[in-house]
Symmetry: C2
Subunit: 244 residues, 2 copies
């Protein structure tokens, strides 16, 4: 039913979590594991590879594999499971502004354009129920020769931009996360006091030729959104039990 390599992954993970294999210590060789689990080397190797790039173990060629000691810095935060959620039933998007303007120096620099080039300027407000939650500002290049723009311009289904459902996805991009205080304008829109803390999610999307296509940022109310990561071994309970 369940793949053998998955059972092996879980078993070893459990042993690490429960302290049978301690951080830093060497664990049995591949040959020994093959004998214990009664599988071929290839299958065992597959299990180890999974643990390897989960970062739970650490292999040194010719010496052995070891339990990797974990530190705070091993945390990974997935934007996918942002607490506060991106979209659910109560979510609605309100378009505050959409126009084409000439790029300011700052915008032109970010988008690698000549100053004064035409760009599309967008401002959206995402509401959870009645409450403003995110404020989104974005500048998109306006170049008839590049076909990407129109897909970007379908405004309301912000969802498409977030989780790449349909065509309006970008092949590449850079996203940076930081904290800041709300400006007067952002504070007004988000119905927060000026200077209130917020998470800022700045993004630059690029096309296939690595040219920037859009620059913008989300402002997330600090009281509604946070990121959580779990550190250390985690496994799904397996129904199977040794009946040897």
């Amino acid at each position: 039913m369940r793949p053998a390599y998955q059972d092996i992954v879980d078993t070893i993970t459990r042993r690490i979590a429960s302290g049978v294999y301690r951080p830093g210590s060497r664990l049995p060789s591949e040959a020994q594991f093959c004998a214990e689990f009664r599988v071929s080397p290839m299958t065992l190797r597959r299990a180890l590879n999974i643990l390897l790039d989960q970062g739970l173990i650490l292999a040194e060629k010719g010496r052995g594999t070891f339990v990797r000691p974990l530190g705070l810095t091993d945390c990974v935060f997935r934007l996918e499971d942002l607490e506060g959620g991106w979209v659910d039933e109560s979510t609605s998007v309100r378009l505050l502004a959409a126009s084409t303007t000439k790029a300011s120096d700052r915008v032109a620099e970010k988008l690698a354009l000549e100053p004064g080039s035409r760009v599309v300027y967008l401002r959206r407000l995402v509401l959870k129920g009645e409450r403003p939650a995110m404020y989104h500002v974005e500048y998109v290049i306006f170049d008839p020769r590049r076909p990407l723009v129109e897909s970007q311009l379908q405004i309301t289904p912000l969802a498409g931009l977030l989780s790449g459902d349909r065509g309006n996805t970008f092949p590449r991009g850079t996203v940076t996360l930081r904290a800041l205080s709300l400006s007067a304008e952002a504070a007004r829109v988000l119905e927060e006091p000026v200077g209130a803390p917020a998470l800022c999610l700045e993004h630059v999307f690029e096309d296939n030729e690595r040219r920037p296509v859009s620059w913008g940022w989300f402002l997330l109310r600090a009281d509604l959104f946070q990121l959580t990561a779990r550190l250390g071994p985690e496994w799904q309970a397996s129904q199977e039990v040794d009946r040897g």
Copy 2:
């Protein structure tokens, strides 16, 4: 020299990045790939598995494998590559306070203790050169029966807590990231105006039995620290060229 599966991963990645394989479209079957790259099914499968859990492709049993359309939410932020850095030559740690006190209600709740139990209270300041950068507050359970405490108590090498070098690592934990405004005390220590924005990194570490061992948080000056993630296909340049 270079493993074959790695070359395959890079080649497919490059094709996705350059638009040869478009988002959502089906890519060749495993058999076809085997024929093209002249490798055995197992090797090809290995390459696909890597792309699979990089999230670049998406396989549906019986139907085929497809290029996965990406969205903003696919970003992952690694605490490891925090911009502003955790430790380098100019980093020093100053211990502001270390004492044992009775746990307040809030602390007792977080650590799952009886209110009034003894806990170790720590406050550290991390400096980059002369400049305060992070402020760390932590509560550690004080229980002679649990041996973990002493390793936690070696204060100055904060590095050990961050990247698990030696023994003072915890098997498990939860870390949450959010934005907030500096309290009066934190602002004074970090030499920032009261109410300045900061990233807050709250952490709870647990022992093998999943009992909380320590609770605390880092406050990171918003002007010094941010997290960056790259979205989309990325590959290492391979020196090898087709000479068929």
